[in-house]
């Protein structure tokens, strides 16, 4: 048996990196919510511009604000994913 040759530090680093990659991917599930919400908001805005074309300026402005606010949760998910990919806080917890 060659089990004694395993470098456990390397192994645990590999596990942490793999789990972080999975976590980064999973964090981006947060993109579903804003996608649906913004699509719905833009659809409604199009409807109301169709009904009242003269109010298109105000509707568009309000819609962008609403979209921006709805987007926050997606951005938070993205920041978690970026953190895990480029500034991983867990990799330093692996002790030799």
């Amino acid at each position: 048996m060659e089990t004694n040759n395993v470098d456990y530090t390397e192994l645990s680093r590999a596990i942490v990196l793999g789990a972080s990659a999975l976590g980064a991917g999973t964090a981006m599930i947060a993109g579903i919510g804003p996608g649906i919400g913004e699509g719905y908001a833009v659809g409604k805005a199009c409807e109301s511009i169709g009904r009242q074309p003269e109010s298109s300026g105000a509707v568009t402005r309000t819609m962008f604000i609403g979209c921006a606010v709805a987007e926050s949760t997606g951005i938070y998910g993205l920041l978690v994913a970026l953190l895990l990919m480029f500034a991983n806080p867990f990799i330093n917890k692996v002790s030799g």
């Binding site: 962008f64 951005i75 920041l79 970026l82 480029f86």
Partner: protein, 250 residues
């Protein structure tokens, strides 16, 4: 160049880091770090100041020049936007809104010159959001008085006190994170794509991927995203500040 290089980030490949430190010195025990962000901000401030000095020099009332038309258009646009969104009695905020918009849009668009976006440093949007935070609460105290302002936290029922405090704190956090997240995600995605395109070019040997495609991507991730985030930031600032006087208007 293999796929593992792509994932690991090879020496000539992806470089997603914070702003680089240019100089660092100590004054009276306090270390002052001059980062890329600070230096590029100074460049933007100097450029805007020179531009404004040039635009506002030699103003006339009759047969005006082209640059005066441009300057007047910029000023009336900002004032019109503030009037539409906040109401005429909030006009005094127009210079702050205009300055914020200019700095934000130039700070994001400086990436078109191959430099690092100023707004891709979390310190910058956080600073703006904190200024807005102070303005919101200052306006609230000025309209309602300190007592009325403090009473506002216990409305509609005193049980809501922690919730109200949390929602006030989350305002600058979400504003700054939104701006930062959008710009930095654009930066990361474009650098990943540029790297992927250069890898494809090296594999094939003909540089057809690196021509044209980056321009289209830059149009969305740099131009549109930068402009949109600057606009949203000033719109949210205006909405929050004008809402701070509560039902004094209604």
């Amino acid at each position: 160049m293999s796929i593992s290089d792509f994932l690991r980030g090879s020496p000539d490949g992806i470089d997603v880091t914070g702003p680089k430190l240019i100089a660092s010195f100590e004054i009276g025990g306090i270390t002052i770090n001059l980062t890329e962000t600070v230096v590029l901000s100074w460049v933007i401030i100097a450029a805007v100041t020179l531009l404004l000095l040039w635009l506002t020099s030699d103003l006339k009332t009759k047969d005006i020049s082209k640059k005066q038309v441009l300057a007047e258009w910029a000023v009336t646009t900002i004032y019109g936007l503030v009037d539409d969104t906040m109401g005429k009695h909030w006009r005094k905020f127009a210079p702050y809104i205009g300055g914020l918009f200019t700095f934000s849009i130039l700070g994001s668009l400086i990436s078109m010159l191959g430099l690092r976006s100023v707004t891709a440093d979390f310190n910058v949007p956080l600073t703006w959001a904190l200024i807005t935070f102070v303005l919101i609460h200052g306006t609230n105290i000025r309209t309602h008085g300190l007592g009325g302002y403090l009473k506002g936290y216990a409305e509609p029922v005193p049980v809501m006190l922690p919730m109200n405090i949390l929602s006030e704190i989350s305002t600058p956090v979400s504003m700054s994170l939104r701006h930062f997240g959008n710009i930095v995600s654009g930066m990361v995605i474009t650098s990943l794509l540029y790297f992927a395109l250069s890898v494809i070019t090296k594999k094939i040997g003909i540089a057809f991927c690196t021509i044209g495609i980056p321009a289209v991507l830059s149009l969305y991730f740099d131009l549109f995203s930068g402009f949109m985030q600057a606009f949203i930031f000033i719109m949210l600032t205006m909405v929050y500040i004008s809402n701070a006087d509560g039902n004094a208007e209604a």
